[in-house]
Symmetry: C3
Subunit: 287 residues, 3 copies
Amino acid sequence: MSKIIALLSDFGNRDTYVGTMKGVILGIAPEIRLVDISHNVDPQHVRQGAFMLQSVFHHFPQGTIFLVVIDPGVGSMRRPIALHGGGYTFVAPDNGVLSYVMEVLGQGEVVELLNTDYWLPEVSRTFHGRDIFAPVAAHLAAGVPLGELGEPSGQVVRLPRPQMDVNERRVTGEVMHIDHFGNITTSIGYLFWEGETSLTLTPAFDDNLPSVQVGAESATVLVHGEVIYSIRASYSEALRGDFLAVVGSSGYLEVAVNQGNAADRLDVAVGDRVDLEIGERDAAVSD
Amino acid sequence: MSKIIALLSDFGNRDTYVGTMKGVILGIAPEIRLVDISHNVDPQHVRQGAFMLQSVFHHFPQGTIFLVVIDPGVGSMRRPIALHGGGYTFVAPDNGVLSYVMEVLGQGEVVELLNTDYWLPEVSRTFHGRDIFAPVAAHLAAGVPLGELGEPSGQVVRLPRPQMDVNERRVTGEVMHIDHFGNITTSIGYLFWEGETSLTLTPAFDDNLPSVQVGAESATVLVHGEVIYSIRASYSEALRGDFLAVVGSSGYLEVAVNQGNAADRLDVAVGDRVDLEIGERDAAVSD
Amino acid sequence: MSKIIALLSDFGNRDTYVGTMKGVILGIAPEIRLVDISHNVDPQHVRQGAFMLQSVFHHFPQGTIFLVVIDPGVGSMRRPIALHGGGYTFVAPDNGVLSYVMEVLGQGEVVELLNTDYWLPEVSRTFHGRDIFAPVAAHLAAGVPLGELGEPSGQVVRLPRPQMDVNERRVTGEVMHIDHFGNITTSIGYLFWEGETSLTLTPAFDDNLPSVQVGAESATVLVHGEVIYSIRASYSEALRGDFLAVVGSSGYLEVAVNQGNAADRLDVAVGDRVDLEIGERDAAVSD
């Protein structure tokens, strides 16, 4: 069974950057399996990349190596690191892009990539994806132990958690991602259905916050002036062209339009505020 | 020789949806070969996906499994199905997306995917690509027989055929697809060259329609007010920047601009009417 | 170790063209490894493709076969060719798209692809990527010797070299590529750092031109009315949002905005003039 390197970057699908990294990897680890997650993280948008990575990594088989290159600080003093945890390994710049994975996996074992033996012989100051991260990921895949790649590192850059303020009658979060369909993913999660009409909100990133029961039919979602009554189980429960709130596939509250584009119609941006009002009848907070 | 899973969806190249499906597949069938056909079917455009699938599937080796996820009805009562025919297997929602493949292959063997043993343990109501279709395709690739996946199913959703009305002097069809170059693919096909100046039109989807002989030089194509005289054998037979009609690579009549973008200049949309006037000198209809 | 076919085209990521070529290849060479470089070369932009190919090919392992389909002349008299040189093989239309690779590798061994045994049985006049180039690349990968595929060919189409005029105080070049980040790659290269403040310009395509020493801090770059003082070692040496000149990852002078989009702000186009003024203090030309 071949090792997998899964790639996430902001390099886009137009230039030769991704192909260059793949060429470098295949020169070092010819039997590796390469899987693209996405190369369309918004340019230099470390936080978006962190959120996307956290939503996808656990669907890959144990042993997968993630090569994550969203790297606005390339050529500066920001450090290259690798993280091992939960059976996975992540190779990335130390700029916070692994923050949300660490929220899930714990900090794990972190190595600062200092051993230049596993870099390309010449290192540019503009493309460490090619010169450092890709060859390191390939050497890992080829069997080099993590500890060989550098020195253990305690402190790493961590981003603020996605906002989620839980009060008795209201949960306040933010827009985290707008997808290809225009569906608006918020930071309010994880939501789990309990039967057909009731949901449990179990804070995704903060163990100290209480769980909250939410009645699907009495809940209200507010985003950018739009008020959406009730949370539906699927897109098709709204009329075609109508707004709806739904539990997205990663457990976050999502605002969508059935067979339409919610983001186009609401003009929201990543970071905008979202409120979930829990409703009088069903409000109940438990620890 | 590894099995192939070829993926067609409307998930785009920006989010983690496709990567998630690939992660799930590789967890079940680690030696599978994954090939992307496209993830840029227009959102929820089942008919476009059906047309694209029909134009590409037969170029893949026998044994290929097609994972087709254009699924506006996810979470509703629409059924998940698999179709086996012509040496290929297709896993998809039962919403008509396999219609045009069935026009070519016959209905084949259809199974409603009811056996939850081959789904992910938890099934969301917003992402069956991950929870049902990808794992089912992977289990098929790993050797699970089709019959294990559910129950035989007679009736499936079928879309209306692409329009093609054949009259003595005129064939009327519709715009089916506009490609990356702005080339306009119509439903008028299949066209085959007979020598340098004569074509045979053998209706693609309807055995009851007569074949038609078309003189390339006397034919006229009308689309959205533009009149194009004669059918050329290749793009380069028109002057740079000129409109031309040509037989596209899948045998359909296509309207293009040599080294330009026909769709930008004509403002056509999928579904618009196209006429092929056969011309007086050469008109001849045979059964 | 499986052979690699690396694909570069202008087919985009929307249609079934790339998937079709991959299906054809896998039918002939089932164990081949397919790697996408990019399918987003601007439509019919042979020179851009030539430049991109030259910047990426040498990062792939020896033995890689490059399938290059930017083919505005499909169906015309332009010839299909294969080039072998430097341990690599390139399959492409003879329209100049291999020019810049040849500048690096020398002309190598060129074969005109005349042996129809290695094409698909039916050849359209609109999609030679599928009918000629993909099957030829696959047969090469499967072990067919280059000489079997056709006849040796002396003369091939060559594009003019990227412009670079080297004078005592000024180097004049042109914009060659605008990348996904809006970074503007010029034809002025190769530039190599000598320590922290001095660069050597060793003309990329013309051995007859002299090498030039450039002082990073006294150099000035002019493009589209913007004057940029000094050449930086990395993007992060400019303030966020500021223009800077930098040595790009392939050794060419590049104009960028730190964490911004230079092309959006300058409205430049491929082909626009760029000047590098070397500066009084450091100017020195050597042979």
